[in-house]
């Protein structure tokens, strides 16, 4: 084989593969964003860090929900949007670190369409600091740099992410596969086997969770606190307000947090309350705080007929509970 032919075949094959990748990502992306249940794909776990910044820029939501898998599982735009008459976006991602949470909030606040950003505070627990993020997180996809200036060439990076990345291929394939498996007239709520966020906690799951998370604590380290304070400082100059909430972890698991690290748990709540109060004195009407990690109708509920109405497991609440939480936060018909 001549070397010229080698180069032609090599580059030709590569060009065909990249073109196929781009065409698939373009078609799949459109399919997901235009499907009646497309919003439910945002509750799926996969390559969310890769594609969600792209979706955020395309969907142009009014309400953005940021947090860990609790948020990702618990807020389904397909359910929220018709109920509250708004356009929402689920910016949740598994094991979100404090730095990622701060950066995703910055990204959300930088979108002109966004009128409110809701943040689950468990993302600010632990002790990860600046720059610490999971592998698929990428700064270049976010609207602004950590210091708030516009990200250079962001459109280019969003383009290559949306059409030319393996991460997009994975997330799009996952989304398309989930949506085409829905039967006629079915929504994500009808298929918990595909959309796990709609499954119900059983006694077995509850016991497994109590065992699995038996040494789990809930505290905020110095570095996480730093990221939290930075987020608040940046929110002060933003157009959209922030709504913070302690997620409604079931009281059974909250008891474990108190058992493992009672001081850390109490300090977390006190710290957040104090930092928010201090912030509100300097920058009023920008941040509100809700505490659902306390005894309430949701967190104290028991199993009914062996199934939990509102939980997937002891920390992940179902999208119906997510909608209830938003209403508790004062979000009503078209009002943010």
């Amino acid at each position: 084989m001549e070397k010229t032919r080698y180069a032609v075949w090599f580059l030709g094959t590569l060009a065909i593969a990249i073109t196929a990748l781009a065409v698939f990502n373009a078609l799949a992306g459109d399919f997901i964003l235009n499907h009646p249940s497309g919003g439910s794909v945002q509750t799926l776990s996969g390559f969310e860090r890769t594609l969600k910044p792209v979706w955020l820029a395309r969907i142009k939501p009014e309400l953005v929900l940021v947090g860990t898998s609790r948020v990702r599982d618990g807020f389904d735009p397909t359910l929220i949007d018709p109920a509250l008459k708004i356009k929402s976006f689920n910016y949740g991602a598994s094991s979100m670190t404090p730095y990622e949470a701060r950066r995703f909030v910055q990204d959300a606040l930088s979108q002109p369409s966004v009128k409110r950003v809701v943040v689950a505070l468990d993302a600010f627990t632990g002790n990860n600091g600046t720059g610490e993020a999971l592998p698929s997180f990428d700064e270049t996809r976010l609207a602004v740099t950590p210091d708030g200036s516009p990200t250079p060439r962001r459109k280019l990076w969003l383009f290559t992410t949306a059409y030319l990345s393996g991460g997009a291929l994975g997330m799009n394939a996952l989304g398309v596969l989930a949506l085409v498996r829905l039967g006629p007239g079915q929504t994500a709520a009808d298929r918990p086997d595909i959309f796990g966020a709609y499954s119900h906690m059983t006694l077995k799951v509850m016991q497994r969770d109590l065992d699995y998370r038996r040494a789990r604590g809930m505290s905020m380290g110095e570095r996480a606190r730093g990221e939290f304070s930075t987020m608040l400082a940046q929110a002060c100059h933003a157009r959209a307000p922030l709504t913070l909430f302690f997620p409604p972890d079931n009281m059974a698991i909250v008891a474990r947090y108190r058992q493992t690290d009672p001081k850390g748990f109490d300090t977390l709540k006190r710290t957040v309350t104090e930092v928010v109060a201090k912030h509100n004195r300097q920058c009023p009407d920008k941040v509100t705080l809700f505490d659902f990690m306390a005894p309430n109708a949701l967190t104290t509920e028991g199993l009914k007929d062996g199934l939990s109405p509102d939980y997937v497991d002891l920390v992940h609440f179902r999208p119906s509970a997510g909608l209830w939480l938003l209403r508790q936060m004062g979000l009503k018909n078209g009002s943010l």
Binding site: T13, E132, A168
Partner: protein, 489 residues
């Protein structure tokens, strides 16, 4: 723009295509095109630093030419050479080391000095060193009246601009005047580039999260357990190996596509059976530069054993500091200086000892393992953000703490086993491609690159399919923009 990004692929394609289209035109046109492409490549990051690059190029060129002319006239040129060195070292000291030195002085003496924080211009360490070598060689009569265009292209030539290899003017400039860009080079170049891209996106970038998680935990003050400490150390040793060899392959591959050869920069360093050999295989262009422009001018081995050890130590200390403005890099360099001194002393002590043939292999295996252990331990201070974190990791290696950041899962075990097989037993990319001369030979005659006996690359349909598939996999893994470790230097 980063080598591992789509914009660079497009840029490279345009550069190669443009360069080839100009093949039949005047040589000057090709060189101007390549220079403009290189400046565009550099300006992608920060256009304002292009002024710094151009300014530095002009000053050094003017000084170099004047030194050449004075040498021809046999007049005194010492002041010019000193001024040139001061200019280059001053530039790098201002932008790279000001914060470290002023900050440390302020901390130690409590003077309340204002600590400057400059944005580090990309590639400043590389283009400054290359220009220092030009001035020193001009003084020694080794330069040949280059034109400004040739010189500017030598400094800015994009495949080596950001992170090396550190190239000598006499290696590169004569090649700019060649008219040849054979079609053979394209096949060789894209294959070498593909090997590098795959090393980066499929191996180095997948090791990074584990090494990062463990070193970040150490940075937070967590007392690492032995599993975390050992895995973090090993994962980083392999991450930097594949990251830097990936960069070197991509730089050399990009250049080969243009028909220009850069020097070999990476030659299976973990196969080294001594620290001396390690430095003839790892970042070869840097170690050769340090040897020729620092160690030998300091006196090298010409003034006795003690002086040699001191010269080695100083050379490696400064080599470490060249990597970054942090005392951890200096400590890393110092450790290697110490290793090298011990290595030379050991060689001297065992020079006349005969070893039974049956012991050759076991001794070689032990030497390779010991060299790997020593370099891997030194990587701890290289990777750690500060000395306290490094100490934390070292204590973890000795069983100090009880952290559980990662587990020694089956996946981790298999991964480590495969990595050891690759770095110890597989031919490297240079050996695979050597029949097609992808690079200039190593400056170390005792460590030449030989063609691989197995798996050697040839432009066959099977290789086209295999490397094409590898390229597709590497491109699919390009979801995130992860910079090369050496880009920060």
């Amino acid at each position: 723009m980063p080598f591992n990004s789509y914009p660079y692929f497009v840029f490279l394609a345009v550069a190669v295509l443009g360069f080839r289209l100009l093949e039949k035109s005047a040589l000057t046109g090709r060189r101007v095109f390549l220079l403009l492409a290189s400046y565009a490549f550099y300006a992608w990051w920060r256009a304002d630093f292009l002024f710094l690059l151009c300014g530095s190029t002009l000053v050094n060129y003017a000084l170099g030419r004047e030194i050449e002319q004075r040498r021809a006239r046999q007049s005194d040129r010492r002041a010019l050479l000193i001024a040139g060195l001061a200019f280059n070292l001053g530039l790098i000291a201002t932008f790279k080391y000001d914060t470290l030195f002023v900050g440390t002085a302020d901390q130690l003496l409590g003077l309340g000095l204002p600590v400057p924080h400059f944005f580090l211009p990309l590639a400043i360490s590389f283009f400054t060193f290359e220009q220092i070598s030009y001035l020193v060689d001009a003084d020694a009569g080794k330069t040949h009246g280059y034109t400004l265009l040739d010189y500017a292209l030598f400094v800015a030539y994009f495949p080596h601009l950001i992170a090396g290899p550190i190239v000598r003017h006499n290696d590169l400039i004569p090649q700019f005047r060649q008219t040849r860009t054979s079609n053979d080079d394209l096949a060789t170049g894209i294959t070498l580039f593909t090997i590098g891209l795959a090393k980066k996106t499929l191996i180095a970038d997948n090791l990074a999260p584990f090494a990062d998680a463990i070193f970040n935990a150490a940075g937070r003050g967590m007392h690492l357990g032995p599993t975390d400490a050992w895995l973090g150390t090993l994962f980083f040793a392999f991450q930097i190996y594949f990251d830097f060899s990936a960069y070197s392959d991509m730089a050399l591959g990009s250049s080969v596509m243009l028909g220009i050869r850069l020097p070999v920069n990476f030659h299976s360093p973990y196969k080294a059976a001594s620290i001396i050999e390690f430095w003839r295989r790892w970042h070869i262009s840097l170690s050769a530069f340090l040897r020729d422009y620092l160690y030998i001018p300091l006196g090298g081995n010409r003034h006795g054993r003690g002086r040699r050890a001191l010269n080695l130590f100083i050379t490696m200390l400064l080599g470490g500091l060249w990597h970054g403005a942090n005392w951890t890099f200096m400590l890393w360099g110092g450790l290697h200086g110490l290793y090298l001194s011990i290595n030379h002393a050991f060689r001297r002590a065992t020079k006349d000892r005969a070893v039974a043939p049956a012991l050759h292999l076991p001794l070689h295996i032990a030497s390779v393992a010991l060299t790997f252990a020593a370099t891997t331990l030194a990587w701890i201070v290289f990777r750690a953000p500060d000395l306290a974190s490094a100490r934390n990791v070292v204590e973890g290696l000795l069983g100090g703490g009880h952290s559980n950041v990662v587990s020694f899962s089956h996946l981790a075990q298999v991964t480590l086993l495969l990595l050891f097989i690759v770095v110890w037993f597989m031919p490297n990319s240079m050996e695979l491609m050597w029949n097609y001369r992808p690079a200039l030979p190593s400056p170390y005659a005792d460590q030449p690159v030989e063609p691989a006996r197995r798996l050697s690359w040839a432009p066959t349909p099977l290789h086209a399919a295999a490397y094409g598939l590898l390229c597709i996999l590497a491109v699919l893994a390009l979801s995130n923009l992860k910079p090369f470790i050496y880009f920060q230097f």
